[in-house]
């Protein structure tokens, strides 16, 4: 693994069209070694197409993809050796046994026989499939099939692992196993996963790329995305005291802190107040210092963060909104605007 460069995936200005439909539109990103990147987007956003181009299965119309320094278009044999790929819905041949399938795949991936035997034991252990190694693939449950797909993807210890919706159809227990498995690859292999399940992405990924209409609408770590898309954070307080004077104290804590909403006082005099700020630092301590000093009794304080779901919805909506006026401004994009969620 010594010859693996620091940047394992380099995608620049990738374009893929199906007839008049532009599935991937000028996409560029890079993935570093050992990084776990999540690809997020609504149906038909171009996630699977992007992944298929990365694996060399589909050719792109324009742009370039480099895997470990090799361009996919001109050196497919070299790049395929560095990629472990699990397609959407994880297709498997139905009449093989688990260990036979892994053996066949390992031989296709040019693993020496002696090493392959030990490695199959290892991945079966990792994926919790030891008990199922002699079972026939067609008769496995969905979760077990999914884990066979993951075992197959990591079998040859590739530098890049690409998984299209690895956790689809799994129960919560199996999702945790898969999530831990993916997290255990961090630092050794670059992983790209796509998913609709947003908490999944948030927990496992170092970086998230939100794709819509074939282009990146937002990227960064989940925390960065929150700040970029929303630019503000919200605090909820339960306090008792003079509601009219509250607004006057806020600029003293932070210049952008403002009162957005305040509820009616309950019988015990406490009311729920919502504050909003553009500052990215946590203002909780300051609030707890200043408000009691001004004579307010604070019962609870909470910082509500937008979930990745909100970020996702806001980012994809923002990109749809941007495309609606002036259709001529965006060439090559014939996709009809999708309904807003």
């Amino acid at each position: 693994m010594a010859d693996i460069p620091d940047i394992t995936i380099e995608v620049s200005n990738l374009v893929k069209t199906y007839g008049s439909l532009t599935a991937v539109n000028n996409l560029s990103f890079t993935v570093k070694r050992g990084e776990i990147v999540g690809l997020l987007g609504p149906n038909g956003a171009g996630k699977s197409t992007t992944m298929r181009i990365l694996t060399g299965y589909l050719p792109a119309n324009a742009g370039s993809v480099r895997i470990c320094g090799f361009p996919v278009a001109s050196h497919p044999e070299a790049t395929k050796r560095h990629v472990g790929y699990m397609p959407e819905n994880n297709p498997l041949p139905e009449d093989l046994r688990v260990s036979e399938y892994l053996w066949f795949r390992g031989r296709l991936k040019e693993m020496p026989r002696a090493k392959l035997r030990a490695r199959i034991d290892e991945v079966l252990e990792l994926c919790d499939l030891k008990r199922n190694r002699h079972r026939i693939l067609g008769r496995l449950s969905k979760g077990n099939k999914q884990r066979v797909g993951i075992a197959e993807a990591i079998l040859a210890e590739p530098a890049v692992i690409i998984m299209d919706e690895p956790t689809i159809g799994l129960d919560p227990h199996q999702i945790i196993i898969v999530r831990n498995l993916i997290a255990s690859l961090r630092g050794r292999m670059s992983v790209i996963i796509s998913s609709h399940i947003l908490p999944e992405i948030e927990e496992t990924c170092d970086r998230v790329l939100i794709i819509n209409g074939g282009r990146i609408v937002a990227q960064g770590s989940p925390a960065e995305l929150r700040h970029e898309i929303f630019g503000h954070s919200t605090y909820r307080l339960e306090l008792a005291g003079d509601p009219a004077g509250l607004a006057a104290h806020l600029p003293g804590i932070d210049a952008t802190l403002r009162l957005v909403n305040q509820g009616d006082a309950a019988a015990d005099g406490f009311r729920t107040v919502t504050l909003m700020t553009d500052a990215s630092t946590d203002l909780g301590e300051r609030l707890l210092q200043v408000l009691p000093a001004a004579g307010y009794r604070v019962r609870s304080l909470g910082r509500t963060q937008p979930s990745l779901e909100d970020v996702f919805l806001a980012a994809t909506r923002r990109s749809w909104d941007a495309r609606l006026p002036g259709k001529n401004g965006l060439q090559g994009d014939s996709r009809a605007p999708l309904p807003k969620v």
Binding site: Y57, L58, E77, K80, P87, P91, D95, E100, L108, E152
Partner: protein, 253 residues
């Protein structure tokens, strides 16, 4: 080519695991057995000029029409429908290796099935207690014809499977192409329209392409390199089109 044998052994194993292989083999032997018994009963009624083996190989088209589509329709259509073609082609293998591996497995099975019909001739010789029935000349020629023509027929089946995702379509397509190749060509070569001045240059060429004529030649000990060349180039061409078909289907999927 290092993956060729991996794919070949995988395909052979898949054939051996599949119950339909055994059903097809039994069906084949049953049909060929009936044909053989029919030939023998004809011979017991009246003396004939040609050896029974030569007549037996003239019925080659019956198993070709149903066995070749059955054997090959699965190869790519099924993989494409299941989606396993994607995992196969994203491994470091080339499409050529995959096509050649699948072709060889189907071809080996086809030849093996035909080889098992040698048992008929052996049993006949055993019961008739007459070594003349094991007439080596027509038998060697006949099996040579099966081996050479099988290259083209199986390649045609692979081609039909490579251009669709539906097994039934692949089966019917390969049946149609084989029918055109065997029945159609010999029908066209006998048309009276070929005797007109304009078309008469075509007549000798079309007569050379008559597959039943090739069987007669082979069983009578004539191994014509033109015929061998026809089957070899046809096989190569079909396989090249299969490779293109598999890749083109990906582009348009």
């Amino acid at each position: 080519m290092r993956h060729y044998f991996t794919i070949l052994s995988h395909e052979i194993r898949a054939l051996l695991y599949n119950p339909s292989t055994y059903v097809a083999a039994v069906l084949f032997l049953l049909v060929m057995g009936f044909i053989f018994v029919g030939i023998l009963s004809d011979y017991s009624k009246a003396p004939q000029e040609t050896p029974p083996a030569a007549i037996f190989f003239q019925a080659f088209f019956i198993p070709v029409f149903f066995m070749v589509p059955l054997l090959t329709m699965k190869s790519f259509a099924e993989e494409r429908r299941l989606g396993t073609l994607e995992t196969l082609l994203t491994a470091p293998v080339s499409t050529t290796e995959v096509v050649l591996g699948k072709f060889t497995a189907a071809y080996l099975f086809y030849v093996l099935l035909w080889a098992s019909t040698f048992g008929f001739h052996y049993i006949l010789q055993l019961y008739a207690r007459d070594t003349r029935y094991l007439d080596s000349g027509p038998l060697i020629g006949g099996y040579l014809f099966i081996a050479v023509s099988g290259l083209l027929f199986v390649a045609v089946g692979i081609l039909a499977s490579a251009v669709t995702r539906n097994q039934a379509v692949a089966g019917i397509l390969s049946f149609t192409i084989l029918l055109g190749l065997i029945g159609g060509l010999s029908y066209v070569s006998e048309l009276s329209a070929l005797n007109t001045d304009v078309l008469s240059p075509l007549k000798p060429a079309l007569e050379q392409l008559r597959v039943p004529g090739h069987v007669d030649d082979f069983t009578h000990g004539i191994v014509d390199t033109r015929q061998v060349f026809f089957y070899l180039t046809g096989c190569t061409l079909s396989l090249i089109f299969s490779i293109l078909g598999v890749e083109a289907k990906i582009l348009n999927s």
